[in-house]
C-alpha cells in the first residue's frame, strides 16, 4: 500500500490523520448500518423527508443492487454482459404474478420477501442457462449472447397473453418499502463482497486476468463462471421484484435494451471491479438524473456528455479497480504478514 508522508502541523495533515482514524475504525460501519436501518423505518413513518426523496432513495437502492450484481460479471470476471435487464424482467414478472394471482391479499405484506426470493431464484435459474454459452465464447460474442437473451426475454413476455402480453401488468400492490429496499441492498452488497473475496472470487478475478492461465492453474473455470452468473442474475431478479412492486406497473418494454444500457453506465461510471464504485456509480447516476430534471429534454443531452467527458479524463471510472477500505477484508488489507502472525499466535495458544 502506498502511504504519503503526513505533515502533522498543517490543517490538511491533521484532517488526514482524523480521516485515517475514522476509516480504521471498522465498528463504525456496523453502527452506520444499524443507524441506516433504523432511519429507513423512521423516514417513512414520520415523513422526515418528502415522498419524492423517499422514492428516489428506493430507486437508488434498487440501482445499487443492479450495478453491484452486474459488476460481478463485467468488472470482476471481465466479461461483457449487456442483457442484465433480462434477468431483472424475470424477477419482476415472477414476483408480480405471485402478487396478482397466487398470494391472497391479506398475506401479501408477510409473503413479500418470499416473493422477492422467488423472483431472484427464477432469474438465477435462467442465469444458469445463460452461463453455459459463456464456457465457449468470450468478449463480443458473449455480449451478443446476452443481448439476444435480453431481446428473447422481452419477446417471450410480449407473447404470453396470460401475463398481459405487450400491455404488461398494471396495478401491482406497492409492497416495496424503504426498510425492505435497505435490507435487500445491504444483503446484495454483503453477499457479493463476500463472494468476491472468497476462494471462488479469486477464481473470478483470475478469469478476468487470463482465462487459459487460470484453467492451467487448476481453477475450475466452468464452476466459477456458473456461480458468478447465478449469483449475479439472482440479485438482478431481486432488484426486478423490488422494482415491480415500487413502480406498480411492468411491461416488457420497461426491460428493453435501454434499461440494460442504464445499468452498464452505472457500473462503468463507478468503476469496474469495485463494490464502492458500483454504489457510487448507481447513486450518482440516479441522483444526477433527478437533479437535472429541471433541464427538461436537455437533461438527457447533458447526461451522456458528462459520461463521455468522465470516460475521456478518467477511463476507469470513479473508483476503477480500487476499493473503499471498509469493503476489503482485514487480512487482505493488512497483508499476509499480519495474517501469519495471527495464525502463529493461535497455534501458540493451542499448544
Amino acid at each position: 500500500m502506498r502511504s504519503l508522508p503526513i505533515d502533522k502541523k498543517s490543517w490538511l495533515g491533521r484532517l488526514k490523520i482524523r480521516y485515517e482514524a475514522i476509516l480504521s475504525n471498522r465498528r463504525l460501519m456496523t453502527i452506520l448500518l444499524v443507524v441506516g436501518f433504523i432511519l429507513s423505518f423512521l423516514i417513512p413513518r414520520y415523513n422526515l423527508v418528502n415522498q419524492y426523496i423517499q422514492l428516489v432513495m428506493m430507486y437508488v437502492g434498487i440501482n445499487i443492487i443492479l450495478a453491484t450484481s452486474l459488476n460481478l460479471i463485467n468488472g470482476y470476471m471481465g466479461e461483457f454482459s449487456v442483457g442484465h435487464a433480462g434477468f431483472m424482467a424475470i424477477g419482476a414478472y415472477a414476483s408480480a404474478v405471485l402478487t396478482m394471482q397466487v398470494v391472497p391479499d391479506n398475506l401479501l405484506p408477510f409473503l413479500f420477501p418470499i416473493e422477492v426470493i422467488v423472483g431472484g431464484l427464477g432469474a438465477a435459474l435462467v442465469g444458469l442457462v445463460v452461463a453455459v454459452p459463456s464456457f465457449k465464447t468470450r468478449g463480443d460474442y458473449l455480449a451478443i449472447v446476452t443481448l439476444a437473451f435480453n431481446m428473447i426475454v422481452k419477446s417471450v413476455f410480449e407473447n404470453i397473453e396470460a401475463i398481459g402480453g405487450p400491455r404488461g401488468i398494471p396495478g401491482i400492490n406497492r409492497l416495496t418499502t424503504l426498510p425492505w429496499t435497505f435490507v435487500w441492498t445491504v444483503v446484495a452488497v454483503w453477499v457479493i463482497r463476500n463472494f468476491v473475496y472468497s476462494n471462488f472470487g479469486r477464481g473470478v478475478l483470475s478469469i478476468r486476468e487470463d482465462e487459459i492461465a487460470s484453467d492451467l492453474m487448476s481453477v475450475n473455470t466452468r464452476q466459477v463462471k456458473l456461480l458468478a452468473f447465478v449469483l449475479s442474475s439472482f440479485f438482478a431478479g431481486v432488484a426486478g421484484a423490488l422494482f415491480a412492486h415500487l413502480l406498480q406497473f411492468i411491461s416488457p418494454r420497461v426491460f428493453d435494451i435501454l434499461k440494460s444500457t442504464d445499468i452498464l453506465i452505472m457500473v462503468y461510471l463507478g468503476g469496474i471491479g469495485s463494490i464502492a464504485g458500483s454504489i457510487l456509480g448507481a447513486t450518482i447516476y440516479t441522483v444526477l438524473l433527478e437533479v437535472l430534471r429541471p433541464l427538461g429534454m436537455w437533461r438527457m443531452v447533458m447526461m451522456p456528455l458528462l459520461l463521455v467527458l468522465l470516460m475521456i479524463y478518467r477511463p476507469r471510472g470513479i473508483m476503477g479497480l480500487r476499493e473503499f477500505r471498509w469493503f476489503v477484508p482485514l487480512h487482505d488489507l493488512l497483508g499476509a504478514h499480519w495474517w501469519r502472525r495471527k495464525k502463529e499466535a493461535s497455534h501458540a495458544a493451542a499448544d
Binding site: D140, I144, S155, M297, W298, P304, L307
Partner: protein, 291 residues
C-alpha cells in the same frame, strides 16, 4: 410460391439495409477492435439529414443521398477525433461505454429538435410493376441495387487500393504498421468516414422505404445490425454483408409464416443456435490465444 418470392424480395430489401449498417460496425471493429455502439444512431442521423435536406433544400434523391452521406461521414470522423481518439490506449470497455454515451447523446440531441416522429417526403416516384404475380416496387429495386453497388465498391476499395491495403495492414497490427510509414490517424479517419457514410446511406434508404422517422429508430436497428456483423464474423467485411442478408431473410420469413410478434424471438434464438455451432461467426476465424 409467389408469396415466397414476394417475401424474398422484401428480405433482400431489409437485408441490404442491415448489411450496410453492419459494414460500419465491422470496419471500425476491424481497425480499432472497438464496438462503435453509436453507429445505430449515426444511421438515425443519416435519416434525419435526408429529411432535412429533402424538406429545406428540396433537392432530388441523388444529391440528398450524397449530402447526407457526406454530412454523417464528417460527423463520424469528428466523433472519432473528439471522443474515441483519447481512449485508444485506455481499457477497451471505456471506449465502448463512451460509444454508448455518444449514441444516447445523439438520440436525445435529435429528440430536442424533433420531439415528434417526422414523415419524410417521397423523393422517388414509386412505381410498382407486377412480374409473374410478384409486386416489385421501383423503390425496392433501387434500394437493393444501390446497396449492392456500394458494397461492391467497398469490397474493391478494401481489396484493390492502397487505402484498403493500409486498412488491412492496420487491422493486422496497430503497432508495427505505423512504423512502416502508414498514417494511422488518417486511415482510422477514412475508415470512420466510409463506415458512417454507408450507415447514412442505409438511413436515407430506410427513411424512403419506411417514411416515418424518429430519434430512437437507430437503437433496435443498430443492435440488430451489430448482431448481423457478429453472425458474419465481426471484423470481416464480406461476413457483415452475408450476416445482414441472413438476418433480413430470417426476420421476413418468420414474420411471413408466424405471428409478427414472434419475429424477434425466433430471429434471436436462431442466432444463438448459430453462435453455439460457430462461435466466431460464419466467416470469422478464432484468433489463437496465448498465455
Amino acid at each position: 410460391m409467389i408469396y415466397l418470392l414476394q417475401q424474398a424480395l422484401n428480405a433482400l430489401q431489409l437485408g441490404s439495409i442491415y448489411a450496410l449498417i453492419a459494414l460500419g460496425y465491422t470496419m471500425v471493429y476491424g481497425i480499432l477492435t472497438m464496438i462503435n455502439f453509436a453507429h445505430g444512431d449515426l444511421f438515425m442521423v443519416g435519416a434525419f439529414f435526408c429529411f432535412l435536406i429533402a424538406t429545406i433544400l428540396k433537392l432530388p434523391f441523388v444529391p440528398t443521398l450524397l449530402l447526407s452521406m457526406a454530412g454523417v461521414a464528417m460527423l463520424g470522423v469528428f466523433i472519432e477525433r473528439v471522443a474515441y481518439k483519447p481512449l485508444r490506449q485506455a481499457p477497451r470497455v471505456s471506449a465502448v461505454i463512451t460509444a454508448l454515451g455518444v449514441g444516447i447523446f445523439l438520440e436525445n440531441f435529435t429528440l430536442v429538435f424533433f420531439p415528434y416522429p417526422q414523415s419524410v417526403p417521397q423523393l422517388l416516384a414509386n412505381v410498382t410493376w407486377t412480374v409473374g404475380g410478384v409486386a416489385v416496387s421501383s423503390l425496392q429495386v433501387i434500394i437493393i441495387i444501390l446497396s449492392l453497388v456500394l458494397m461492391i465498391l467497398l469490397d474493391t476499395l478494401v481489396r484493390r487500393t492502397m487505402v484498403g491495403m493500409a486498412m488491412r495492414a492496420i487491422s493486422w497490427d496497430k503497432t508495427i504498421v505505423p512504423l512502416m510509414g502508414v498514417p494511422l490517424d488518417l486511415v482510422i479517419s477514412i475508415t470512420f468516414a466510409i463506415g458512417t457514410g454507408l450507415g447514412a446511406a442505409a438511413g436515407t434508404m430506410y427513411s424512403l422505404a419506411f417514411p416515418v422517422i424518429d430519434p430512437y429508430m437507430g437503437i433496435l436497428i443498430g443492435w440488430k445490425a451489430f448482431i448481423a456483423a457478429v453472425v458474419g464474423g465481426i471484423g470481416n467485411i464480406r461476413g457483415a454483408m452475408i450476416g445482414g442478408f441472413i438476418l433480413g431473410a430470417v426476420e421476413i420469413l418468420v414474420a411471413a409464416f408466424l405471428p409478427s410478434t414472434y419475429r424477434d424471438f425466433v430471429a434471436f434464438t436462431l442466432l444463438l443456435v448459430l453462435l453455439i455451432f460457430r462461435p466466431y461467426g460464419i466467416l470469422g476465424r478464432p484468433r489463437p490465444q496465448k498465455v
